[in-house]
């Protein structure tokens, strides 16, 4: 395992700040080890063959060439290695990320956020203290109501939106994000958290993660979305639970006495 960490240092991985990030990096390392073995093996053979069988040295070619079933072994070995990686790692690991029965449930007390992308910014909506979102419907969607919230729903009252492009989540607590988009396809990618998900208009796609390191991380848009694609940057701040509570109370209070309140 130390070796894996050493390889990671060599491969210029970005810092990891989420629970599942380590397994992802490990997995990438395993795949690259397989690739490196194949490449180095074949490449060494290749150079040797070029050197040994050059015309000057070996003027008469052999009609039969190599008598070997090495290739079969090599191909079977590659296949076996791929199957192992696939069955034992890739499939189960992917399932932990997307399967709905792997999502945190009520007893994990996750924080749920709704994120809607637009050209070229990220909007985030929090359920507030009651943990319940107001009803949403596309028919309410308007330039000043990007989530299409029903303002008459009682659950809407304590919902709040964080400032555009600036999201906050607590560390060491599961977070669920429901991701959508207003106009074109965007892609919500936070490299240190090792999460990536397309935001597709018309769909609401759930994702989940658990940040384990406090800090400020960049939200990258990873899907071409127009001329502002390169500047569609957001920040996600991972706070301790107590700092997060403070922030939440703060912003909720602010929302009350500004125009953004939904009363």
């Amino acid at each position: 395992m130390e070796l894996v960490d050493k390889i990671k240092d060599l491969m210029s991985f970005p810092p990891v700040a989420s629970e599942h990030g380590k397994s992802m990096d490990d997995f990438i390392v395993y795949v690259h080890v397989l690739m490196a073995v194949l490449f180095v093996g074949w490449f060494a053979y290749f150079l040797y063959a070029l050197f040994r069988f050059r015309h000057v040295k070996n003027p008469k070619a052999s009609y039969t060439g190599a008598q070997t079933s090495f290739s079969t072994y090599a191909e079977v070995a590659v296949a076996v290695a791929e199957v192992i990686l696939l069955v034992s790692l890739a499939i189960p690991l992917w399932a932990t990320v997307v399967d709905s029965d792997k999502f945190p449930t009520e007893k994990d007390k996750p924080l749920v956020i709704k994120v809607t992308a637009q050209q070229f910014a990220w909007n985030a909506r929090y359920p507030g203290k009651d943990g319940a979102f107001g009803k949403q419907d596309i028919k309410f969607v308007a330039p000043d109501n990007k989530f299409g919230v029903d303002k008459n729903d009682p659950n809407t009252k304590d919902d709040f939106e964080s400032a555009i492009n600036l999201m906050h989540v607590p560390s060491d607590r599961k977070v669920i994000i429901h991701l959508s988009s207003l106009d074109v396809i965007h892609c919500f990618k936070v490299v240190p958290l090792r999460i990536t998900q397309d935001a597709i208009p018309g769909l609401m796609i759930p994702m989940h993660f658990k940040a384990v390191k406090e800090g400020k991380y960049m939200i990258t848009c990873a899907q071409l979305c127009g001329n502002g694609h390169a500047t569609m940057r957001g920040n996600i701040t991972v706070l301790s639970q107590s700092d997060y509570d403070k922030w939440e109370a703060d912003i909720a209070a602010k929302a009350k006495d500004t125009a953004t309140s939904f009363e």
Partner: protein
């Protein structure tokens, strides 16, 4: 033996009995597969150059965002107007160039060169046919291609500029972006697709029906096999993109919402559409073509490389039959892996496991192809001519590109790597130092057949070594950039994601390597100069070939006069053996052409 080189440079002798068709029918509206092949080749090289220029402008912008482009800046400002004001590339123009670089390289340069140009010129000769099965359809195919090219190029000069939404043209973005560039793109694509379909039908019929007597399936040169499978990929994978293109065109022109969902916003306001469409439908139809298309890019190149390696090592290809089977399996599987480009569109475990599994399975036939070529080298007597160098370099380059497809093919690692420069590096390794090297090899190898003259070896070597070095200096660092989290299609090279005031994003080093990559790209462009000089110089001044078969090759295209006359073969032709009978024991020369009768019978 009677393979005494059949020297014949007096072309006149072959033209007897052919009516004189005049300039237009002979060189422009020709139905001769060789002329059409060359027409495709010329167009494709022009567009390869065009794609290269677009890339250079982009690389400048990536390395030095916001700085005016040297030399070409003022001209660009004139042509493109506001989007290139003062010679500075705006994000709009960057997106245009990016989309068109991809489109042009894929559909207007590499496919026409590998599949259409070499296919047209070489396949009928290699199977011993007088021409393609439908010469007039062949001409129609070229002219449909030509119209498509004209529309694509014209779109640069309309006020709103060319398409901006990547070569993948994802809806809703591609539909809702104002301007007509996308409309032109779609109409152009419909012509290109029609051209490819006609071409594909023609190739398949030619290979099935017009093989000379004795040319059984397992005596078919591997290049023909590659073209055969490629033609099927085009035939069956392209129509769904045509469908999707028509639907996107309807969305664009008639206000339908095939790919636009209910509740869509455009420019901050609710869109005036019926809604009810599906953005993912476009992606499925696009990638249903998209993945087979990447094999369309690579297979002709593998075919050429196989021919050239067999010729250069002077021995048969090891495992020819298993290569053929691998090719067929590859062709089949390429239809059911497409959604590995869409792992992050919200796929669940079941479907992504399916596509993951097929993606892993499809890498096995590629491994078989490469392994057979590698093992073939054993025991050879290798002559390193320029075409050999390019063909040999193809192998490890394709190897790197193919291997880096694996971490993308596993969905769990794709989460980090998706749409990053890792992807860019992956596929450029397969298409640039891979396919393009294969195509260069083909050009150097078949040039004497087409022109009667050889290209210069010294210039060729300069071209090769510089290209090899700079290609790697460009694309190798991109893997690191991608791993570090740099996204693709960034008009400022990721500058807005630089780590600052404690926000963790892209590292400074990752962004800095943009500069060195761009320098390598400019150097790569300069390294093409010897090639361009060589290409034109050799036409007039190159060393004349003294034999119809200057590389002592076994396949049929070398058993015709140089260049081959209308109708190709001056006598009926019959085939007696497999394609790579080099260094047959007991034979006085080290090659036995396929049409040389067996002595014993």
């Amino acid at each position: 033996m009677q393979t005494a080189p059949h020297i014949d440079i007096q072309h006149g002798a072959h033209e007897q009995g052919h009516e004189d068709l005049g300039f237009w029918r002979t060189y422009i509206f020709s139905t001769d597969h060789k002329v059409i092949g060359i027409q495709y080749g010329v167009m494709a090289l022009v567009f390869l150059f065009f794609g290269l220029m677009l890339m250079l402008a982009m690389r400048w912008q990536i390395a030095k965002p916001g700085e005016p482009i040297p030399f070409f800046g003022p001209t660009m400002a004139q042509i493109f107007g506001d989007v290139a004001a003062k010679g500075i590339m705006s994000p709009d123009l960057y997106n245009t160039f990016g989309a068109m670089h991809g489109t042009i390289m894929v559909f207007l340069a590499v496919v026409p060169l590998g599949f259409a140009a070499f296919g047209n010129y070489v396949v009928p000769l290699q199977i011993g046919a007088p021409d393609m099965a439908f010469p007039r359809v062949n001409m129609a195919s070229f002219w449909a291609f030509f119209v498509g090219c004209v529309i694509m190029v014209a779109s640069f000069f309309i006020p709103s500029g060319a398409a901006q939404f990547g070569w993948t043209s994802y809806s809703p973005g591609a539909t809702t972006t104002p301007g007509d560039g996308q409309t032109y793109w779609l109409i152009g694509m419909i012509f290109l697709i029609t051209s490819s379909l006609l071409g594909a039908v023609n190739f398949i019929v030619t290979i099935i029906q017009l093989r000379a007597p004795g040319m059984t399936w397992f005596r078919l040169p591997f290049f023909c096999w590659a073209q055969f499978v490629t033609a099927f990929l085009l035939l069956l994978a392209f129509p769904p993109l045509e469908t999707a293109g028509v639907m996107q065109l309807m969305d664009k022109l008639l206000g339908t919402s095939f790919f636009l969902p209910t509740g869509l916003f455009v420019g901050g306001n609710p869109a005036d559409i019926s809604g009810g469409g599906s953005p993912l439908l476009w992606q499925h139809l696009f990638w249903f073509l998209g993945h087979p298309e990447v094999y369309v890019l690579i297979l002709p190149a593998i075919g050429m490389v196989t021919e050239i390696i067999a010729n250069s090592i002077r021995k048969p290809i090891w495992g020819y039959k298993s290569m053929v089977y691998a090719l067929l399996v590859l062709g089949f599987l390429s239809f059911i892996v497409w959604a590995h480009h869409m792992y992050l569109t919200g796929m669940g475990t079941k479907i992504s496991t399916f596509f993951q599994a097929t993606t892993m399975i499809i890498s096995i036939p590629s491994v078989i192809l490469l392994t057979c070529l590698f093992i073939s080298l054993w025991g050879g007597a290798m002559r390193f001519r320029t075409h050999t160098l390019f063909a040999l370099a193809f192998l490890p380059m394709f190897g790197i590109g193919g291997l880096t497809g694996l971490p993308l093919g596993f969905n769990y690692s794709d989460i980090l790597l998706h749409d990053s420069y890792y992807v860019i590096a992956h596929f450029h390794y397969v298409v640039a130092p891979g396919t393009i090297f294969g195509l260069f090899a083909g050009i150097y190898y078949w040039y004497p057949k087409m022109t009667g003259r050889k290209m210069n070896e010294a210039l060729g070597r300069v071209h090769f070594w510089l290209s090899l070095v700079f290609m790697n200096l460009i694309f190798m660092p991109m893997f690191a950039q991608g791993m570090a989290g740099m996204s693709r299609r960034m008009s400022n090279g990721g500058a807005s994601y630089a780590s600052d005031d404690g926000v963790i994003g892209l590292t400074v080093e990752a962004i800095k390597s943009n500069t060195s990559i761009s320098h390598a790209a400019f150097a790569l462009a300069l390294a093409q100069i010897p090639f361009i000089i060589n290409f034109f110089w050799a036409m007039q001044k190159g060393e004349k070939v003294t034999s119809d078969n200057p590389w002592d090759s076994t396949t049929l295209e070398w058993q015709t006069p140089t260049p081959p006359p209308h109708g190709n073969f001056d006598k009926p032709i019959e085939i007696f053996r497999g394609p790579y009978e080099y260094s047959v024991p007991g034979h006085p020369v080290d090659f036995v052409p396929q049409n040389e009768p067996d002595k014993k019978n």
